[in-house]
Each structure stands twice: as C-alpha cells, then as structure tokens.
Symmetry: C2
C-alpha cells in the first residue's frame, strides 16, 4: 500500500496547479447562504469539478416548495473491483459565512488571491478548500488506477453556514442514497506544529434573536425621561443569562441533559497533548482565558462545555461623532453551543420560560436555528482508521478531541446512516474562518490531499 | 405697535416663496458636523442669506490650530434710531445630525422637498428652519422700516450637534462681540394644538463611550469556551449603571449636586397645562412611560430628571441569517442628561470610579463631550417679554417649561453675557428632529416669523 501512496503523492504534486485554479474559481463565487447569494452558481461549479474528477454527480432538490432551497451536490464513485464493499461518505458544503466587515479584509474577500504559500478569501479553508482536497484525492486515485478501492459518496450542501435548515429533510428524502459505513466530516485543523487535529463530535447549536421594541420611530434621546429605551431591556435580559465570572449559564435546568464524560473518555482526553494556551493567548493577544481555565482543563472544556455567546447586539455604533438617539428597536443575537444530550427545542423553551419568569415578558425571542450535538465514541474502529491515515500523511501523531467546540449537523447524518463520523482535514487552526482575512496554506492542502488518499485506501483495506 | 405688526405680517406672507427657496438650498447642504462635512459651504450660504437680509455678517474663526474648526457666522444690525439701546442676541446653528439609517427616510434626507404644507429634510426644523425664521423676521422689519427697533446680533455655530466643543473658546475669544441683554435660544416647539412651548433652560450632557477589548480579531464563536467576549463585559457594565424599574442611576453620588426646584418653581410648573401623555403614547405607540410617571409629574420630570440613555451598542446586528462570531471589540455610547448644578467632568469621574469599584477596570471609558446645564429664572422680565410675543403671534397661551429635556450650550453664552436666555421657536413637537423623516410645517414657519417680529418689537419697547 505504501508504494501505491508514493505514486499518488507524485500525482498530487503534479496536479497542484489545476487544483489551485479550481479552488480560486470556487472562492470567487460569493456563495453566502445568509444572503441567499451565488448558491446555484457554486453548486453548478462544484458539479462540474466533480464530474471532471470522475465522480458521478447530480443535484438533489427538495421540490414542491415556494422558497428557494439550495440544492445538495451529490456525488458517487462505485468501486469496480469491490462494488459490494463498504462505502465512505464525505460531507462538505459549498456555502460560506458573510464577509462583513468588508473593510477589515486586506484583500478582496472573494479574490482567491495567492500570496506566497497561502490562498486568501472566504471559503478558502471553510469549506471550499477542504472540499477540493477530497475531490482531488479521489481524482488522483482514479487517475492512477482507473478505479477506487471502496465505494465513495459526496454530500455537498449549501446551507451549513446558516445551520443546515433543510439538511434534515434532504436526509429523510434521500436516505437510500446516503447509506454508508463511515463519514468524513467537513473540516479538520492543523496546529502550528503541523499536527493534525481530529474531532470526534460536534456541539449542537441554539441560535436565537432577542428583540425589544420601543417607540415606533427613533426619537431624540432627551425623551429618555419618559420613554423606555429598548436597549436597556435587552441589556437587562442578557445580563440575566450568563455569569461572566464563572462561565455558567443562569437559565434554570440549562445543564440538566448534559451527559458527563465517562472515566474512559476523560483519561483518553487527558492523554492528548496539552492545549498550548500560551501560544493561543499570544495569537489573539489575550490576557487571560475565561473562568481561569488551567492548561489541562482546556481540551476537556472545548469538548464538554456549553456556551452562551453574544454574536451581535444593536442599535449599532454609528461611528464618528455623537448621535443622541433613543432607538425604536434593540436586538441581540445569541449562539448557545449545546453538548450531548441537550436538545435545541427544549433549551429554547427553557430560555423562554426564564425570560417570562424574570419579568422580561416584553422581550421577543425567536428560534433562528437549532442543531443537536453528537459524538462518535473514541474507541470506534473507524476512528483508528482515520487516525492512522492522518499519522501517515502528516508524519505526526494526531491530536484527538472528543468533540469539536464548533457546531454542525453531524447528528442528522449519523442518525440516518448509523455510521461513525469523524472530522479530519487540513485547515490551519488560525486560518480566520468565520472572520476576515480567511486563508488556506497551500502545503497543508497538499498534505490534506495525501491524508484523504491514505484514508480511502486504509478504509478499503480495513473492511 | 399692532399696526406695525399687521403690516409686517403682510410682508411675511409676501416673502414666503423666497424664504422657502432659501431654506431648501440650506437643507440641501449636508452639513453634518459629526462627519465634518459641508460645514464651510453651509456657513458661506448662511452669510450670503444674512447679508441679503440686511445683516452685517462675518465669519469668526479660531486660528492657530491644525484641526478644522467650523467657523461661527456672526451677524449684527445696529438700530439707527436707538443705537445705545438694548441688544437681543439669537443663537442658532447651521450644522445638523447624521441621517443614518438612510434607508428609513421616505424622501432623500437632503432633498428639501416640499409636499403639501411641509418641507422635508435633515435640518428643516433643527436648526436651519428656526434660523431662517429669525433672519426672515429681521429682513421683514428692515424692509418695512429701513431700521430695527433695537440692536440685534446673530451667533450661528457649526458644532451644536456634536456638543459645541469649541463654543467655549469662541465665547472667550469674542466676548466683546457677544455683549447683549437677552438671548433667544436656537429652538422652540409647537404642540398639536398649535400652542407654542417655551423652554427656560437646557439640560447638560455627559456623552461617553465605553469600550471593551477582546481578541485581536473577530473569531469563531465556538471559542467562547476559552475567550472572554467583550460584549458580555459591556453588557455587565451597562447593567450596573441604571435601574430600569425605578429610573435611577446607580452610580454613587450621581445626584449629589442636583438642585431641587423651589416651591415657587414647582407651583409655576404645576400651573402649566398637563402634558398630554395619551397623545404622546399614541404618537410613538407606547404601552407605558418609564417608572409609571403620572400625567402631572411629566412636565416636572422633563425639566428636572437626569437620564442615562444607550445611544448605540455594538458589535451591530448583521442582518439576514446567522453569523456566529466572537467580536474583537464591543462598545456602548451613553448620553447622560445633567441638571443644575451637575458638572460633566465631576460626573465623569464618578462614572470612572464606579467602573473601577465594580471590577470593570477592563472597560475603557472616554469623555466624548460635556455640557453644563442652565435655567433662566421663570420670573425674569425677559421671560414675560418672550411669552407676550408668543401669545400675540400664535393667539394661544404658551406653555412654559422650566427647562427643556434636551441639552445645549446655553450656560456658555449666559455665563459670558449674564443675559437671560429663553428657547422659543416654531418646530412641530413631532417633527422627527434627530431621527429620520425630519420636516417643518410651513404654516408654523410663518407663525414663527411673526413671533420673532413681535419679540423684537416688544423687546425694544420693554427697555
């Protein structure tokens, strides 16, 4: 098998120019799902690139609806030599986060500009870079052998960055197409020592909007003597949710369904290299981390702690000079990360009850989207296969987290397929995903491609 | 004197077309002081209009500085018949508030469009409309008699909407030019029954920015497990400042220098028509006013209560879709209205001490601008003169407030000149000043012009 890998390694290097051209053209499509922009265009380009790679591709659609729902790009390669063997499924997405504030980007967010060994632009890592790596790996294997060693499937959706609102329906409608024996999740990180970081789970998400209404128009703030300012209501309500000092969410029963990590899980997690909090703090210029977390508690906290984060709050700051206004509306957007076995809808009801109980009945709260958390058990054989492939490609022992700190619809695919799911990839852990100046490191894209080739080969042999 | 007034009334009607053309051209200059835009252009146009009206006009400048300081348009008309008599001074401003959010304007904010009996646009009331009324009144008197019955002065500044940061220096530097015996402040309102509302004072202002710093860049909000979110710090700090339920500012010693209204002032205030809270609530579609104020307490509260208002808070809401980000910076802009004898600098130190004492030492607080409060005593003879003029012009008994709920640099001019100062004018009290869709009612502009003619004549006879 190693001989095979060496040959494909050469193929990877050889095809790098075309790879980067494809990734650039994909980054240049501003497929921002939050704005419903560029999604069909991106789906079509992904289809084209996948077909050229030798993957049978079709667009899946949910029909009979009035609203636009981004299609899923579904891809399949049957193994000629092993058609009744196991199937590996790649989950990715072609949509990206919004790019605001645009002024903070040093290069145009959709330029795909290459500077040195980096490619810049929204999606260059998350998730267009990761997607291209997987397509490229399959293409390299087909180019080399005319076949693939196991059956392969691709599910590339267009709504991940808005919480995959329709993925559940897709999964139910096309369950027959999604059958598989192992799932490779959309992303994976690489730390500053080029060690791959593998995540065995995803947190869930409850994303809500709080809204308080004031007068029917913005008014002169001298009238604050008479008129309640909705911004104060929002501030008071927010203040009741979270204890900044302890990092504890103050909503009654919030933690009730949190499943504690088992002693086996805890020792597994403790055996991983310590999180480099010094480097992390230096990178983001932080004095301290929340709640005085010690270095050894960090990996556990990332996997296990629910959060309550203010993503946005308005009326926004107006910039230069003073504007003395009492706003008609105030809002806050909050993302709560959930851990097994919390359920977004139940947590939402608890939040609503909390607001009512605490005299915030004048705050409207909207369920924007929710995702259930999921974790693959660390001792699953599929985890061993993935870890082995990553070790071989990066020539470094991977770091394994019981769960990512991030969220994604992993539970939806796992509940339908009953297959284990692992997140592994090649994005620099400081590549500014979801922020401005997102980039991907080209050498890591190469290593990522090699990792995927290793994984496909090892997965085929393991069964 | 009434004969004289009747003749000038005809002159007012006659010159209305030119008046509106002049006001439109002034509204069309976007002289937003917060953005340092269009100020010189507006000052020059005001100069031109004043000269044409027969007012000797010059631009006052503070020289020897590197930064741009908006000039003051200073105007003077000596009475030929009464050159050693008393002097009446008009204080106005040619700068305007920002127009954001532009999307909420139904007409272009700088269009000066006339629809029916209204003229629309930023500054149409505050303060270009009020300024034009006064210039027009003087012009009418000069046109009729070739003279003015008393000496008149104009001080038209360009920084009122950013807290008049340089007016104090102007007043010290040009004190000799500002000598006068009575001051007419920049604005005055008219209620829905067309009753003029006269204000005898202005609140002071402490405008501050609170700033909390997080990571050196916006980051993915999954890292909220580790990284303190500066928005939480701002929310916690804001929450410590103000008790929404009682309307009380919770900063130690905040109210120490508040001078209570005397029993004479209270009975004077109580004798004014009750504030129409029903109409007010209907206008702004409010369920209730703050702190359960009863109808009879409202006028007193408007004059006497300090406030603490959130004008802006960021990171702003990003609109459509979800963005799960942990922001690098969070800010809040707060305007505190002050009453006699509070001093902005002392209150600022109390705010700073409050933040330190309550473990908000990681919040930066910036003094953006400050103004001292001032009230002219209600029994001053000048007040009687103004009230008489308003009664004559509007043919309705004016409503007199011991102080406006708003702020302005009244104290600066009064401390220098020792002259009584009253705010009287003709802006519809629901004319959306400082908000979007600002307008002026043309019939009120006419009545306002008549009021100023009456005032000038009565002031000349009273001394």
């Amino acid at each position: 098998m190693y001989e095979q890998s060496n040959i494909t390694r050469n193929l990877v290097d050889y095809g790098m120019k075309q790879f980067l051209l494809n990734l650039q053209s994909l980054v240049r499509i501003p497929s921002v799902s939050a704005k419903n922009e560029g999604l069909l265009e991106a789906a079509n380009l992904v289809t084209k690139i996948m077909r050229k790679a030798g993957i049978s591709t079709e667009l899946l659609n949910l029909d009979g609806r009035e609203e636009f729902i981004a299609p899923i790009v579904y891809g399949e390669v049957k193994s000629k030599s092993n058609p009744n063997g196991k199937t590996l499924l790649f989950y990715n997405h072609y949509d990206v986060q919004p790019v605001e504030p645009v002024s903070r980007w040093e290069r145009h967010p959709f330029s795909g500009q290459i500077v040195g060994d980096k490619i810049f632009g929204r999606g260059s890592s998350d998730d267009k870079g990761e997607l291209m790596v997987r397509i490229k790996a399959v293409e390299s294997i087909i180019n080399w052998s005319g076949d693939v060693p196991c059956n392969l499937k691709f599910v590339v959706e267009g709504g991940e960055e808005i919480g995959s609102p329709h993925l559940g329906k897709y999964v139910r409608r096309f369950a027959h197409k999604l059958k598989c024996d192992g799932i490779v999740w959309e992303f994976g990180y690489v730390d500053v020592k080029d060690r791959p970081i593998i995540n065995l789970g995803m947190k869930g998400m409850l994303y809500v909007e709080l809204l308080a209404v004031g007068p029917c128009t913005d008014i002169h703030s001298s009238l604050a003597v008479l008129v309640p300012n909705p911004a104060w209501k929002i501030v008071n309500a927010l203040n009741s949710l979270w204890d900044e000092k302890t990092g504890i969410i103050k909503i009654t029963d919030w933690y009730r369904e949190c499943r504690s990590l088992s002693s086996r899980e805890l020792s597994f997690s403790a055996a991983q290299p310590a999180f480099d909090d010094f480097e992390f703090k230096a990178k983001y210029r932080l004095d301290h981390l929340v709640s005085g977390l010690s270095r050894n508690q960090i990996r556990r906290a990332l996997a296990e702690r629910p959060t309550c984060n203010i993503s946005g709050i308005s009326p926004g700051y107006v910039g230069a000079g003073a504007k003395t206004v009492l706003p008609m509306i105030a809002r806050a957007m909050i993302d709560f990360r959930l851990v097994p076995d919390m359920i977004p809808e139940i947590q939402f009801n608890r939040l609503r009850a909390h607001l009512l109980r605490n005299e915030f009945s004048n705050i409207y709260v909207k369920f924007v989207h929710g995702l259930k958390p999921y974790r693959t058990y660390f001792a699953d054989p599929f985890v061993r296969t993935v870890v082995g492939a990553a070790f071989a490609a990066f020539n470094q022992k991977p770091i394994i987290n019981l769960s990512s700190a991030g969220s994604g619809p992993m539970s939806l695919l796992v509940e339908s397929t009953k297959a284990p799911c692992v997140a592994v990839g090649c994005s620099d852990m400081y590549s500014n995903i979801h922020s401005y100046n997102e980039f991907a490191r080209i050498p890591l894209l190469k290593l990522g491609t090699k990792l995927m080739i290793e994984l496909i080969n090892r997965f085929a042999s393991a069964y």
